[in-house]
Symmetry: C2
Subunit: 197 residues, 2 copies
């Protein structure tokens, strides 16, 4: 784990998009990976209300080394957005230097030039055989970008929740996404390095 990202021992992540993109399930999977397989304290919350009914769906995960007294997110360390609407709606919840990760085909207007814009849905469709697993592709990328856990812990949690008969597609989605995340992180570091010198 990178202490520069996690030094406050509390990480807040929001997975956002539209209903039907499987982000509630993605939140549950990440919570299980971190809580069950990585031994962290995790609170994972879905909220439904006037805001959510506006069209943007969201699933929040708080991860901590210590007990979580307040499970609601306050300032996001990372926001994933799979639609323009959810990006517009939640971008202001990111903390300074928080990380924005978006689907490059769905989010065309980026609020920050520092965002990671990656083809999650296209990759799910073309390389894992179905756009349905775009939630697993993007979740896996997020886990790698944040260095939350080894791929093995995430994959275990993904396969626990994969409906029977979809294991192979979900495994592929997890591997593709994790690889995308590792590569994105590598680029982020190079960029930082370039800035620093």
């Amino acid at each position: 784990m990178q202490r520069d990202i996690h030094e406050n021992h509390r990480i807040e992540i929001r997975l956002s998009g539209s209903g039907g993109q499987g982000l509630v399930l993605a939140g549950v999977i990440l919570a299980e990976a971190m809580g069950v397989y990585e031994g962290k304290n995790v609170a994972q919350t879905q909220s439904y209300g006037p805001e959510a009914r506006g069209g943007a769906s969201r699933s929040d995960i708080v991860i901590s080394d210590t007990e979580i007294h307040y499970p609601k997110t306050t300032q996001l360390d990372l926001l994933l957005s799979l639609t323009q609407e959810s990006c517009d709606q939640y971008y202001r919840s990111l903390k300074e230097n928080g990380i924005l990760v978006v689907d490059s085909d769905k989010v065309r207007q980026l609020p920050s030039h520092k965002a990671f814009s990656l083809p999650f849905i296209k990759t799910a469709k073309e390389q894992a055989g179905t756009p349905v697993v775009a939630n697993v592709v993007s979740l896996s990328a997020v886990a790698a970008i944040m260095e939350l856990c080894p791929k093995e812990s995430l994959l275990k949690a993904v396969l626990m929740r994969a409906p029977r008969g979809t294991e192979d597609k979900n495994r592929t989605a997890c591997e593709l996404g994790y690889e995308m995340g590792v590569e994105a992180r590598r680029k982020m570091r190079e960029r930082k390095y370039a800035f620093d010198h």
Copy 2:
């Protein structure tokens, strides 16, 4: 809706048991039924931590007519327990006059004689064809006991989350559970009536 139960406009429910009983999914389904189809504000939380790793799994739902500022449960209006361990662990979180609902085969030692002890797992197995849908049976009973929503809203949410090919079993589970809950509520009322006079 019964105003006697819901007069404070905030309802807190915990679904508890062991991992693998599908209670995380049940929590998500109830949140969707109330949030998406009934237009309530809902926060639904899974927590993983030292407590959860002790063996008892839990999924919390807070339902409100007004905005939910604090999504963590404080005093439960209803606790569902599908194992003795989870019943023992969480019973003290029930508020005074809170409702305890347990599986009659799994929870043999009741901490209160006012509990609803119902054969959820047995009913799932014998009448819906698989113990896997015991989560839907018990969730549907809870919804009916609390008069949270009409069966139709719950059924819509159940079918949204049912893996392809399991729709019929899940529909049966929902109908059986809701019926069990309606009957339990009827008995509760009769008993109250008997006490009052």
